[in-house]
Symmetry: C2
Subunit: 374 residues, 2 copies
């Protein structure tokens, strides 16, 4: 126990915000369990019932091991200390936000993943991931309900001269009645991520399976592909050219999906949504191509101004969301302005979450039932 | 250049087999290129035209960085040395075998993955992977041909009280003619791997796409699921109980696949194959369940004795293979004995490969055209 207290003191000291070493420390519930995102058989990292995370890294000759995960989303970090068995151990200085977080280790100045955790593609690299059990985690849990499939397709792309990958979620009933056709949601990841994010980190397939099992949404197909966002850096956004991705999406992927899946291949049955930079892409492409999509959704990914949309009659729904620690007033005000201008708009604020996947899981949970209602 | 020669000398010295430091060193072709399995945008590791691999790891304060990849498959390793820019660099002491290899880093006594490389599930953990271009790599290349899909299914398993994952390859024509039905190959990974191995490491989908495009094989479905092999250690094989996996495969997965895909659901149109420990599972299950499979294939995964098979009329094909650096005589002799006993048997030896995926990619390439011919 003592060594964990010491770690906390050290963490607080290093963070620079608190220096009351050796004084009363909060008690940490000693009910740590292996994270659900650990690699098979790995005991660490562990999470306790309050959302504290404890790490254990074996690197006996290392000089320094720091975990990037700290309080307040991605801010700060957790330095580990040498334990008696030669491993490096440490616990976050407080509880983490509910949901999924990326993290990595800095070992002797180099960046590596935690060998105990599964990896997820974010920040333009495969990073370690951890899951903090959430009070509402049931909606993305793997349950004993009929499951849809997630399939990798390789579609030809003349504009980029290659076969490109997309992941396609088909609902549990898909293919049972060979004449039944489904609407389609094109769902984009954020900067630094790729087409795997929405199913791996987001559990989009399980969210849909569970909603469908409770008859809370119409079944529909979800198509996820790489948004070509990773070449640019934040700050360089103004120079981002949407044309290459718009061409891949609208001129190559959509026709391929419509030719190879049982889709309802018209504007009224096609939605586009994206998180973060995928929201920016959604914003631009839906405005550029009003004849292609009729449902628009930006998840922590910008806003629409009423005057941007030329033909109001073509838009069935605008959905705007973010975490309560992001810009909820911006979302609410934009929704109000759109509503006043006569749009069908729904806004959603995820309580106590930031620019992370728990916000976007909840957003999809709210969005899906609103899609393709007629 | 000099520092790489030093690394080679050091590597040979440490290996203990050669100690002729400072004498004539072989010239390394300086045509290194980033490995095709690098994470997006990563320059290292690199491979040259002779199959040497060069590593570069940033960990400025580390005391020691060693790469597990060395000569002769997984034997030995490659210690890195501090370069002028503070990174750790080194080159393998010789060319690696063609094809895919797992590897990891030992940094200050701890085991981590190379942040430059993609990860693949092997050795019961996600390991770094590298691809040495092979003279015959065309057969598993991503080409401009019609592509089948690889889809994740979640099937209910009463015996294990959960939803289990399988990956299903469907050929390019699948679903186009809604009345067409396909035979099925159940294809198992080896010890320490899981259901992702055959598509990620093995490129089973691309091998099939290419064979089908050249009309060299009948199109068929491939189903890959986790063989529950990872709980046991080598040496404990004698205690391995096949029953739990056999139940999942035969009583749960096969009925689910037959109910949800357009399969020809009979013994004559069902094959089982496995690599390494998956071959051991194939051997046991095909013998236990002659009414389920008619094509049997062991890839570096054991042999059949003629007297093990009770009803010869139920077996359409036995396929046995391995790498030339494994046990080719064992494979050839077993094939001979089976042939003399009247079985339809084909053996295949992959030249200059070991107990690794290049052997198994080639084996699938040889096996597929032999399946479901009538």
């Amino acid at each position: 126990m003592k060594r964990y207290l010491f770690v906390i003191v050290l963490a607080l000291t290093i963070s620079g915000s608190l220096c009351f070493a050796q004084t009363s420390q909060p008690t940490i519930n000693e009910d740590f369990k292996p994270s659900t995102l650990n690699q098979p058989g790995k005991e660490f990292p562990q999470v306790n019932s309050l959302g504290y995370v404890r790490f254990r890294i074996e690197a006996p000759q290392a000089q320094s091991v720091v975990v990037s995960l700290g309080l307040g989303g991605t801010k700060g970090g957790t330095p580990l200390t040498k334990a008696e068995d030669g491993s490096w151990m440490g616990t976050t200085a407080g509880p983490m936000d509910e949901g999924f977080h990326y993290y990595h280790l800095t070992i002797d100045g180099g960046i590596f993943n935690d060998p105990g955790a599964l990896n997820f593609y974010g920040s333009t690299r495969w990073e370690s991931g951890i899951e903090i059990p959430a009070h509402d985690q049931d909606f993305y849990a793997l349950k004993d309900v009929p499951h849809g499939n997630v399939q990798q397709i390789l579609f030809p792309s003349k504009s980029t001269n290659t076969s490109r990958r997309a992941l396609v979620y088909t609902p549990p009933t898909y293919g049972k009645d060979k004449n039944k056709r489904y609407p389609v949601l094109y769902l984009q990841h954020g900067w630094g991520e790729d087409e795997t994010a929405w199913s791996n980190q987001g559990h989009a397939n399980l969210i849909m399976d569970n909603l469908i099992a409770e008859d809370k949404t119409k079944p529909f197909i979800i198509v996820m592909t790489y948004g070509m966002t990773n070449e640019i850096k934040w700050g360089g956004l103004k120079n981002f050219d949407i044309t290459p991705f718009q061409t891949v999406l609208v001129d190559e992927l959509i026709p391929y999906v419509d030719a190879n899946f049982n889709t309802i291949a018209d504007q009224q049955h096609r939605a586009m949504a994206g998180l973060s930079m995928g929201g920016m892409e959604t914003h631009t492409i839906t405005l550029n191509k009003p004849e292609v999509f009729s449902y628009y959704a930006l998840l922590s990914g910008g806003l629409y101004k009423p005057e941007e949309i030329k033909d109001k009659s073509k838009v069935k729904l605008i959905f705007l969301s973010c975490g309560s620690f992001e810009n909820p007033d911006g979302v609410k005000n934009s929704a109000l302005a759109l509503k006043e201008a006569g749009f069908n708009v729904v806004s959603f604020v995820s309580e106590n979450t930031r620019h992370e996947f728990q916000t976007w899981r909840r957003s999809l949970q709210e969005l899906a039932p609103l899609l393709f209602k007629d």
